[in-house]
């Protein structure tokens, strides 16, 4: 039994951590749906959901219960296996990415055991995230295709084309960042951004790669299929898009996966560009408080950053109209990719001639 030879406590600890992160991201995604409706309402001078529980806080539960009790329809013309696989894949890929994100600093117990607040510290963490996120397109693709509906198919084709186009710019903008960090491990990238200010300059990557951040952010919107790039849904043109034929909890999974993706993407942006769990004066705080309190503060800081980005995503959604498909492609191929390439070039030159 090779499995038992590695520390059993290690396995338990990782299982607990994975469970907590999974449930936590589900919970945050649930309340992101509530938050979205509240933000939309507030921006339109309305109040928003306020009937279920105080401030409408039980609204997500009510929505979930409603979706569970809805009739489940699988169209006759659909490819049954793929039709079911679609939302399953969307949900799976949405929850998988959280595994490589460092949620907080290492916690050292009295006996000298190091408990890492990261499910898996793989040295290609970023590649893992992008691999999984790219798989997410299959959820949309399969769903739209298996529905055997022209609108769904068109919308899923558009979504796939959009995702592929924007992943290029996303990748290139990230290459510039990786040239600076010299590591693909998220743990390392966060460790490099320790604190806020060091050696006369900001440590957070945002201040080293502002252009890269901008490109990354815009591409994240496109990857998430969110407004102003929600080509996949586009209620007005393709009447619901790829999930037109879906009902009950399968539809719920699609909608829910979008919010989990939003949360995870916010965390990834915060980790890559805004220092992850790092915050100004963190060394002083660590010295002042215990290790446990410090770890909790770190996790809360990361969550705060993530929630700030979620709110930003929502603000943008309720501010901007949707891009037309040709405008979207033009922006992706003719603006963002050259911009990302330029950014990569400048970063390379700076590393070669200035920093050396």
């Amino acid at each position: 039994m090779l499995l038992l030879q590695i520390d059993i406590a290690f396995i338990i600890e990782k299982v607990i951590l994975a469970t907590v992160i999974l449930l936590g991201s589900l919970g945050i995604a649930m309340y992101a749906t509530w938050g979205e409706r509240k933000v939309a309402a507030i921006m339109q001078d309305r109040i928003g959901p306020n009937r279920a529980g105080p401030l409408g806080l039980l609204q997500p539960l009510a929505d979930g219960a409603k979706l569970f009790f809805k009739e489940e329809i699988i169209p006759d013309g659909s490819t049954r296996t793929l039709f079911i696989l679609g939302p399953a894949l969307a949900m799976l890929t949405a929850t998988m990415t959280s595994a490589v994100i460092p949620w907080g600093p290492d916690y050292v117990t009295e006996s000298g055991r190091v408990i890492s607040l990261q499910v898996a510290d793989i040295n290609i963490g970023i590649l893992f995230i992008f691999g999984v996120v790219s798989l997410g397109v299959y959820g949309i693709m399969l769903g739209g295709w298996a529905s055997n509906n022209k609108f769904s198919l068109l919308s899923s084709i558009r979504a796939a084309a959009q995702a592929v186009s924007y992943e290029l710019a996303l990748g290139i903008s990230l290459v510039a960042l990786l040239m600076m960090t010299g590591s693909l491990s998220l743990r390392e990238i966060v460790a490099q951004q320790h604190g806020f200010w060091a050696d006369g300059y900001f440590t957070w990557n945002f201040f080293k790669q502002p252009l890269g951040f901008l490109v990354f952010l815009v591409c994240t919107f496109a990857e998430l299929n969110r407004a102003p790039f929600d080509m996949a849904e586009c209620e007005s043109e393709l009447n619901m898009g790829y999930h037109q034929e879906y009902s009950s909890m399968k539809l719920g999974f699609y909608l829910f996966a979008e919010y989990i993706n939003m949360f995870i993407s916010s965390v990834v942006i915060a980790t890559l560009f805004f220092g992850g769990y790092n915050f100004p004066f963190m060394d002083e705080v660590l010295a002042g408080t215990g290790q446990l309190v410090f770890a909790i503060i770190c996790i809360l800081v990361l969550l705060t950053k993530a929630i700030a980005f979620i709110l930003f995503f929502m603000f943008i959604r309720w501010t901007l109209p949707r891009f037309r498909y040709d405008q979207l492609m033009k922006l992706g191929w003719r603006s963002l990719i050259p911009l990302a390439l330029f950014n990569m070039l400048v970063t390379g030159l700076v590393i070669l001639y200035v920093l050396n």
Binding site: I42, M43, Q44, D45, R46, I47, N50, F315, I316, W318, T319, L320, S335
Partner: protein, 169 residues
Amino acid sequence: MEKLTNRSVAVDRSPMTFGEKIYLPAILKGLSITVGHIFKKKVTVKYPEEKRPFSPVFRGLHVLNRDEEGRERCTACGLCALACPAEAITMEGAERKPEEKHLYREEKYAAKYEINMLRCIFCGYCEEACPKDAIYLSETLMPTHYSRKTMIYKKEDLLIPHPKKQAGQ
């Protein structure tokens, strides 16, 4: 073509300038508008908890009035039914017996008085037509029902409570 108003503006189809092409200034402007709306007063009224006052001329559910001694005012003259543009009011008159003097104000009264609330358009003509001040439109909103039958309001549904009996009970 002749211009209908002087408000028409020609659409600007000139290609976007660089400032417009990078979108960011426009996005920031848009965000400042939407974020500004966070601090604006909400127009929604939380209805059941908080009610907006009715206008003074509001016309709601009908009531049949009684006089100070609790006698029904209606004499079944039929003017309200005649005035009703929706033909929602039906009534049958009856002569008052001597022992019923405490129930009805005049010698004739309405034995049957029905308003079909599905037909009623709440115009208030019945109130205007009534010479005896017997029918009024109150400030109560029309409730909903599950069947057409219950939508026909009988005299018992319309009469306001007896002023003395209500105090006693």
